[in-house]
């Protein structure tokens, strides 16, 4: 770890007094927002699944923070990551704890403005701000960070955070479907494996890696089961499902899998009894674009599901939710080499991140969206972009074109890490939902 006195590349010097004051205020707001979000979710579905109670607890960062802190005291290492390209299985196989550290706090994005200009992606600014005041328990507890070089913001965020922690950059090829790219990526996987081994002092062996892969395969199975249950009449509100998905980013994976399976059992029972979370003719909405991180950046899902007329989120294409675990690591032979290759392929090929391109464009993402729209009977798509998120903003034009062909309405909604624009967003979201309803009946 670098000492505080060492000259920082990016971070300004702030007095401990100011840090403490800011952290206390923002932490209190964060606690209030978490409680409020959960209350509102309970109000939207007054007969919310009982199994959600567990996820509500995990959504309050404190519970998991205590566990991770205790594990650290017993000698475990914590490895944080920003983008979904960090190979979780290798972290688990080295007996370390993986946590995602992207920030969803609105207030810390204003602190990030002291370091980088406001044009920069607010998720990046917010993560910088969170680090400035030590707000994120997972970022603070991380012994090292894995930074996949995806978009410009994430690339530089890793550089900025290296003022505090060892940051392992992983070079991500932007063209997926080539043997060259896969070779490079597999080298990156091996390099990060060596770094994980050096940090933890644990050599990753065949047995542990197999166990870790099986663990995430089981998690993927539970995850897929939950998303499948969102097809058909709404048995769970979108926000609830999104919260379950998202807690995977910091929860204990085995326990998360068990709790998700239990939730699915409950939901299947409800589906059989035709107990719906909202009227079955509620317009079925999907969101795609910039990730939405708990707790503050929950405003769009909240608006959609509390709107008049109401919508229900039945799917999303967000790296903070449905993209997290959609695809399992597929292993043929449980040899070390094959497992590493399978991990490499899963993280690169299965991703539908907007950072990719090819001769045909980013067709994996487009096809994923089209399949989802058709199979999940989506009636409208909200394309969500925060200011400064160039890659998603650019791909909107392409997505709109293909959805127009299917006669599926899509609305481009751009926003910031702020609570102040909720009124304007509400007007737009309600007009969009009204339009979806009008297609059925006016």
């Amino acid at each position: 770890m670098k000492s505080q006195s060492e000259e920082k590349k990016y971070m300004p010097v702030i007095s401990q007094k100011e840090i403490d004051e800011l952290r206390n205020v923002i932490k209190a707001t964060s606690q209030r927002i978490i409680a409020e979000n959960i209350e509102r979710m309970k109000k939207t579905d007054t007969n919310r699944p009982k199994a959600m109670q567990y996820f509500d607890e995990i959504a309050n960062f404190g519970t998991r923070e205590k566990e991770i802190r205790a594990a650290k005291e017993s000698g475990k290492k914590v490895i944080g990551y920003m983008c979904l390209f960090a190979p979780i299985e290798l972290i688990l196989a080295a007996d370390a704890i993986p946590v995602r550290v992207n920030s969803g706090w609105y207030d810390t994005s204003k602190l990030g403005d002291r370091v980088v200009p406001v044009e920069v992606c607010p998720m990046v600014r917010s993560t910088i701000g969170a680090k400035m005041i030590g707000l994120s328990p997972y970022l603070e507890l991380s012994d090292a960070l894995i930074s996949a070089l995806t978009c410009d913001g994430m690339t530089k965020l890793g550089e900025i955070l290296s003022d505090y922690k060892p940051v392992w950059a992983m070079v991500l090829p932007r063209v997926k479907d080539s043997a060259r790219s896969l070779r490079l990526w597999n080298e990156e996987i091996k390099a990060v494996k060596r770094q994980i081994e050096a940090l933890t002092g644990n050599k990753i062996r065949q047995k542990q890696l197999k166990y870790a892969i099986e663990l995430t395969q089981k998690a993927t199975k539970a995850f897929r089961r939950l998303q499948e249950l969102r097809n058909g009449s709404p048995v769970i509100m979108g926000r609830d499902a999104m919260l379950v998905n998202q807690t995977y980013m910091w929860d204990d994976i085995q326990r998360w899998t068990e709790k998700t399976e239990a939730l699915c059992d409950e939901l299947e029972k409800r589906a059989r009894q035709k107990i719906w979370a909202c009227p079955p003719d509620t317009p079925r909405v999907m969101v795609t674009g910039t990730p939405m991180i708990w707790p503050d950046n929950w405003k769009l899902p909240t608006l959609i599901e509390e709107a008049n007329p109401q919508g229900v989120l039945v799917a999303d294409e967000l790296c903070s939710s449905e993209r997290l675990l959609y695809d399992p690591v597929g292993v043929d032979e449980w040899t070390m080499n094959d497992m590493l290759k399978a991990i490499g392929e899963r993280y690169l090929m299965a991703s539908t991140c907007s950072c990719f391109t090819s001769e045909d464009g980013n067709e994996d993402r487009i096809n994923w969206l089209l399949n989802k729209v058709k199979e999940w009977d989506i009636q409208g798509v909200i394309y969500y972009v925060v200011r400064g998120c160039m890659l998603y903003a650019i791909e909107y034009t392409r997505v709109k074109k293909v959805l127009d062909r299917l006669n599926i309405p899509v609305y481009y909604l751009d926003t910031e890490y702020t609570r102040e624009d909720v009124g304007q967003m509400k007007t737009r979201v309600e007009a969009f939902l009204e339009m979806l309803t009008a297609r059925i009946d006016i």
């Binding site: 008049n308 609305y411 481009y412 751009d414 007007t427 009204e434 009008a438």
Partner: protein, 259 residues
């Protein structure tokens, strides 16, 4: 059947009263600090003009950014939904309805029944809306209503880069320092606004007939600039600022029929 539409706009409150889908009365007032009271007065006066009272009204539909603050209503409709309805009522061939109000510009694509099928809204900046003209009129020291006619006298266009009211104002100051004439500066202002509004409309697709509503449609300078930028004719109704209230009142008719 008597129906009413109330448009709780950002700058003014408008009301339209219909008798069997025909306009029989309208009223308008500044929203001010108490928009609910303002609306109450506007609706009351509009009804009084035609010897009616609230009890005669079958259904009231409200719209506008402050729709939740309307004093009384039976239902609501989004501003975009109201624009589409009013646009097609006023011009049956309308398929694109552009609404430029005090603080927002939007465009709606609609079908022959006046049902919206797509829409875009300007990006939270007043440079594409009426408030921009007001600020610029102040900078040029001319009356708001003089801006349009003045701009039509311009012999050439001097581009300004209006992405925001504040930056727009400093660009105008630059033109003043360059000793450009007032008509040319006025034209530059409308061109910049029309540029922003038209790029928004292009994203939606320019499907004729194109109709412009909202208070800014009364400004001949803006209409001329918008026609140039879109390359098609732009139709404007007689009372463009009442389009939202009219659309809401028409939606109210549908809702009464459905009951």
């Amino acid at each position: 059947m008597i129906t009413a539409g109330i448009d709780m706009g950002t700058q003014s409150v408008k009301a339209v009263i219909l008798k069997d889908s025909e306009v029989i009365s309208r009223g308008k007032s500044f929203s001010g600090f108490e928009p609910t009271k303002a609306a109450e007065q506007v609706v009351g006066e509009a009804l009084k003009k035609v010897n009616l009272s609230l009890s005669n009204v079958n259904h009231i539909t409200t719209t506008g950014s402050g729709m939740d603050m309307a004093p009384y209503f039976n239902s609501t409709i989004s501003m975009m939904g109201a624009d589409a309805k009013a646009g097609v009522y006023l011009f049956p061939k309308a398929r694109t309805v552009i609404d430029v109000g005090a603080e927002e510009a939007r465009a709606v694509k609609c079908d022959d029944n006046g049902i919206m099928i797509d829409f875009v809204v300007n990006e939270r900046c007043a440079a594409g809306a009426g408030a921009f003209i007001e600020a610029m009129a102040r900078a040029l020291e001319v009356k708001l209503e003089e801006m349009g006619p003045l701009s039509l006298k311009a012999e050439r266009a001097s581009p300004i880069n209006a992405t925001c009211v504040i930056f727009g104002e400093s660009d105008v100051v630059t033109l003043i320092h360059r000793q450009e004439s007032k008509p040319e500066i006025a034209r530059a202002i409308f061109d910049a606004m029309a540029e922003r509004v038209s790029s928004m409309v292009y994203r939606l697709g320019v499907n004729p007939d194109v109709v412009l509503v909202g208070g800014v449609a009364k400004d001949v300078g803006f209409v001329a600039s918008l026609k140039r930028k879109l390359g098609v004719d732009v139709l404007t109704p007689e009372f463009p600022e009442y389009a939202g209230a009219l659309g809401a009142a028409l939606i109210a008719v549908n809702r009464v029929k459905k009951m």
